[in-house]
Amino acid sequence: MSGRRIVLTSGKGGVGKTTTTANLGAALAQRGKRVVLVDADIGLRNLDLVLGVEKRIVFDLVEVVEGRCQLRQALIKDKRFESLSILPAAQTRDKGAVSELQMAKVVEELAELCDYVLIDCPAGIEHGFRSAIAGALEAIVVTTPEVSAIRDADRVIGKLHERGVPIRLIVNRIRPEMVRNGDMMSVEDVCDILSAELLGIVPDDEEVIDTTNRGEPIVLDPNNHLAPIYDKIARRLDGELIPFTNLSAPGFFGRIMSAFKAG
């Protein structure tokens, strides 16, 4: 049975697509799923860096598409997760190097090898975006609760609807204390405006920067606050019915009194 082909996209850059792709992929792999992560951001690759495999790149997506190597040769097997592989992007080419058809073919081929193909989409809605979504049968739209991000997510959702791609939403970098003060839109506000089904809520956490600096997926550290959240999102994606975590328990944003959900 062919694996699921899911693109992670947003429109707006910098909302956490790559970090989410990396961590969601790692969480799925930790649960025993066979996962391939594809970096579709040709020319500005970062998935390799975030996962800490940047020194192990031999071949990349463009070389696969141009027939200069086999697909399997380009896949980098993660050393920490048995069933996780990465197909890196090319750094010195531009997005015109891979057509929509070529991308779709690669993704289709990968889907035969695993349970999940997660495609990390570049920012924007140009050619790179179109290629990245070409092979996908599902989409996860990542947004933050900020005006520009939501506006761009809306545009991307519109484009995905045109192609009939089912969408689920991850609201990233929510700050409970700002939401409580009314200085930030809530998850409900975001879902309301975008009319999308919620897949996950990830609070803003300064520790994420540290993990990307070191190239270590969050789920590797069971003490990291966000590890259970990515795990839950992975399980929800996989079809399990998981409630959103209540964040008001003491010791977790302990100073915030009101109940706030994430996960």
């Binding site: 939501i150 609807h161 200085d183 009319s195 929800r236 409630p243």
Partner: protein, 166 residues
């Protein structure tokens, strides 16, 4: 000034401000992205107005403009004359006294966009003015508070229960 006073007396948290601004901006974006809807709207408008007046169809234009608290529809419909053999149009309680327009007088109707009830409430008292540039047209009615246009099924996250699997 009014903006400042409103905020002074009714301080709104920026999160709520953001949500409202987004709602309007997205409505405006969606309308620009649905030229087929705008075309149908234009056709229907011409059809209704044509029952009373002869209309210069080729030079009719319908556009949407984002204003401070609403998205307004601006329809520029040049009127060539009154329909012969038709009885005078039914008097509307808020209609201004009817003045037969001179030939090829553009009639500007500024209408508030009420997406969910576009068919029945959109046409409210079109103002007949002579040669008024589009950007000085004022609406004759207070824009009704538009409900959010929902083409997609609204999904409220049910945070207390489990999210359904796709």
């Amino acid at each position: 000034m009014l903006d400042f006073l409103t905020r002074f007396f009714k301080p709104e948290r920026s999160g709520a401000t953001a949500k409202e601004r987004l709602r309007l901006v997205l409505l405006s974006d969606h309308l620009s992205l649905a030229p087929d809807v705008v075309e149908s709207l234009k056709r229907d408008l011409i059809e209704v107005i044509s029952r009373y007046c002869e209309v210069d169809v080729a030079n009719t234009d319908v556009s949407f403009e984002q204003q401070d608290s609403a998205v307004a529809m601006l329809a520029n419909i040049p009127i060539l004359g009154l329909r012969n053999g038709r009885s005078t149009p039914p008097a509307s309680p808020t209609a201004p006294p009817y003045e037969p327009p001179s030939s090829a007088t553009p009639a500007h109707a500024a209408l508030a966009h009420e997406p969910q009830a576009a068919a029945d409430t959109a046409l409210v008292t079109p103002t007949v003015e002579t040669a008024v540039p589009a950007d000085t047209v004022t609406s004759t009615v207070e824009p009704a508070k538009p409900k959010a246009a929902r083409k997609r099924r609204r999904r409220r996250p049910n945070l207390s229960q489990q999210a359904p699997a796709t």
